[in-house]
């Protein structure tokens, strides 16, 4: 099974770490580079400062856990989405902007590839894990939500990332597509289905 993580920022990087024991090959896509502020709420370590995020996370997985992952340090765009997602059995949307989510969603639907989205509210009050058939992206002003900029919401971001990792794990084991809504009070299952159902 090949799982492709699209965006390895706050949610994506933490989710990838939680997926490191999956019986799957992991591909990481992100054009961005690790900056000091990213250390506050993302899975990166000081030694990764300046590196491309996808490459830095792949390096950390290899160095700390002996897990191999493929890194693609490019921006996912209309002209390369097909190539970047080729061979994927599951796409994971951890982007921080509507345009990239919509592009990925359109490709997943056209190519028939399962896709799960994860998102957090800008004020860190709730998060969602939702499979593509039931996902409608919210409009937002700019890339990089405030929740990802500081370290204030790290526990909550970790909660959403862990819930997403569990949804990926369930899909890998049994093909079930579980949605969830996450708040600081609870992780609430909201729907489930099966691929193609």
């Amino acid at each position: 099974m090949r799982v492709v993580f699209c965006g390895v920022g706050a949610l994506g990087s933490q989710c990838v770490l939680a997926c490191r024991n999956l019986d799957a090959s992991l591909t990481l896509i992100d054009f961005d580079r690790v900056e000091s502020k990213n250390l506050l709420a993302q899975a990166y370590v000081k030694q990764s400062l300046g590196k491309n995020k996808a490459q830095a996370l792949a390096l950390q997985l290899a160095n700390f856990w002996g897990v191999k992952a493929e890194a693609k340090g490019v921006r996912l765009e209309a002209h390369n989405v097909e190539a970047l997602c080729a061979g994927a059995d599951l796409l994971v949307d951890c982007f921080d902007n509507q345009a990239s989510r919509a592009l990925l969603s359109a490709h997943a639907r056209a190519a028939g590839i399962p896709l799960v989205h994860a998102a957090v509210a800008a004020d860190g009050s709730f998060g969602l894990v939702r499979w593509d058939a039931r996902f409608v992206p919210d409009a937002e002003d700019a890339q990089g939500q405030a929740t990802c900029e500081g370290g204030e919401h790290l526990p909550f971001l970790s909660l959403v990332a862990a819930t997403l990792a569990r949804a990926i794990q369930d899909f890998a084991r049994s093909g079930v597509e579980r949605d969830a809504m996450i708040s600081l009070a609870a992780v609430t299952p909201t729907a489930s289905g099966r691929a193609g159902a």
Binding site: E35, S36, G50, K51, G144
Partner: protein, 86 residues
Amino acid sequence: MAILNITYNGLSCDVPAELHAETSDFDLKRIAVEIVRCGDLPGLHIANLADDAFEHYVVDRFDTPEGGQRLYLRPKVPFGGGARGA
């Protein structure tokens, strides 16, 4: 998208870089080290470039008419004796 100019080892090269406008000088220097290490700077590939290679460099930032940014990573050039007796 910004254009980052790096001057090092007698070469001055431009490289397109995905950088946020608010990227700090510290982070820009670390990014530049990685760019040089991985050979993304034409003609300048130093795989073992030291982490602090640009420690005494400064960043000049200019907005372009197209709405982008040009960033120049160059050596600092102040001199000075400091206060007498310092």
